[in-house]
Point group: C2
Chain length 337, copies 2
């Protein structure tokens, strides 16, 4: 079976062939007015509110995994970073680093998936760039996305300091994304029906800020998992965090895979979960709003902010003991996002 | 001689080691308030005007070249894409794809160069991301930058259709960047004191829009060179363009290197030049404004828009003949930006 036409160095050379690729793949699928206009930069109109800007590089391997691919992941990852400051995502830029020899059909499938994810999230791809590197460099395709959004007037996420008594909420079970990706890694095949949780979270966040427009913190626990995200929060806020292990949901498939691979689910990446630190009085209304949303159905209160030790995350275990939840010291799961 | 500490997979793993790299290299050098705040997205305040957004991936080889490196190039390339719609650049995001084994000293030198170029151009790096790929993937370092700027009220670039009689201006000699990079390519060493023209053009553009706030077109002739840029303009505007070869400056070193390598300077990349299409009445005041600026000292009128054939670029040669200036058909100079 032939792989069909492939990316060649000339697709990044700035000549007629690159121009053709941009027209026939990128502009055709993304189909936004700024892209069609073809200026060096997209001209935008922003609604009222505070602009928010974020960027991500995506180097996931394999390019496709149960529940998504590098294209949908790139959109969700960037949309979610905007959502984590309370912003409504408006538009994306996408820079592609393609490896010579990448089948054009693979590129087109990924671009189509990215376009569909962007449409579903209500964002437009307004600017792009394409570079080609020689065979053996790169890894099929890397995608760097940048997102621009606007925090609606009245919403403030991250402006209130963390302090003892605030509650920590989690929107659903952890570890699905990392385990779904690993299940497709060469040499690591294991049986699971599990899909990545990759999803855009801005709509869930809008439902939450409608109930509690001032939130001390929102984070999506991606690389490094829940453990890294909470350690970062505790470190930045100079507070302690106490978790209740019984409240942190882990699907049986994820628990079994982690057991098999020697991983701690607290360190495994998620791409469609969020944690929220809220004032104690807001916890119940927020949980109700989250549970009423499809992406927050299994939301739970998983812990609280405590005075200290500053920067430390503790967990009361299922068995009634207590342990420190540390950052991942070294490497655990490379190329997961 | 030891290369010193190098990038390891754990530098991208989301744990304590990644956190340390971000603090000790990226936040230390870029040192902007949004980066220090450490939210998932930077919160911005924009001045009045129309927001403009652009993105670029940079995969240049070698990473350092006479007159710059991948870091300064990334800043200039993105600043210039904003300048080409008349925008004042405000801030950048930077996503790094690092190869396992990259010396930390190389990364730090590039980040320092990028920070210096950003400061010189008056822009802040407000958000970033770091991924690490296994040794043999990637190529030391790839950088994707996105720029956000604002087109000042009253400025309009690209809003006026191209039509016969408009003039084409060029800000300086062509081909310096491409030849400077090639001079450092393995196996291509040749003697030259030439430096890349890589430079931020927004200040030159501001001087130009002060004289002529409505411009039919501004472009920086990067990949594919002057030939690709003019063909793209002619194609998009459905007009013809007639060039005067005698007016297009090429430095003797560039001409000699192109002769040696079998290249046409019209196809060689530039990173600090611009072309401007203007109304005939604006040409002299614009040239005067350009020549008064250090980056436009050698500005010249190099041609004009003609009725057709639509999409075609012709050139009156030095010898009095005429030839078609086509896009580059295939690949000529990969990894030049």
């Amino acid at each position: 079976m032939s792989a069909g036409p492939c990316i060649e160095m000339s697709h990044g050379g700035g000549g007629r062939i690159m121009h053709g690729l941009i027209q026939s793949v990128f502009i055709r699928h993304f189909d936004s007015a700024p892209l069609r206009r073809g200026l060096d930069a997209a001209l935008l109109s922003l609604p009222p509110g505070r602009p928010a800007l974020t960027t991500d590089a995506h180097v996931i391997s394999p390019l496709e995994f149960p529940g998504g691919d590098i294209g949908s992941l790139a959109v969700h990852g960037t949309v979610n970073d905007l959502a984590m400051v309370g912003a409504r995502p408006l538009c994306l830029t996408a820079a592609f680093i393609l490896e010579e020899g990448l089948p054009l059909a693979t590129l087109e499938a990924i671009v189509a998936s990215m376009a569909a994810a962007a449409t579903a999230a209500g964002v437009e791809v307004v600017a792009g760039d394409t570079k080609v590197v020689e065979r053996g460099h790169g890894d099929g395709i890397y995608i760097a996305t940048t997102g621009l959004g606007v925090v609606p007037p009245g919403v403030d996420v991250g402006g209130i300091p963390l302090r003892a008594g605030q509650q920590v909420l989690l929107s659903g079970p952890i570890g699905d994304h990392g385990v779904a990706v690993l299940s497709r890694r060469e040499g690591l095949d294991f049986e699971t029906d599990l899909e990545s949780d990759s999803a855009p979270l801005h709509d869930l966040v809008a439902a939450m800020t409608a109930v509690a427009p001032w939130l001390p913190a929102l984070r999506d626990p991606t690389r490094g998992g829940l453990a890294a995200t909470l350690n970062e929060l505790a470190w930045a806020g100079q507070v302690g965090i106490r978790l209740d292990e019984r409240a942190i949901a882990v699907r049986p498939d994820v628990a079994a895979a982690c057991e098999l691979l020697g991983l701690d689910p607290l360190h495994v990446a998620n791409e469609g979960r969020l944690i929220c630190v809220c004032e104690a009085a807001d916890a119940d209304p927020l949980l109700a709003a989250m549970r009423a949303h499809p992406l927050g159905r299994d939301a739970a209160r998983i812990g609280e902010i405590i005075a200290g030790p500053p920067g430390q995350v503790d967990m009361q275990t299922r068995l009634g003991g207590s342990r420190v939840v540390d950052w991942l010291a070294g490497e655990q799961l490379p190329r997961i996002c």
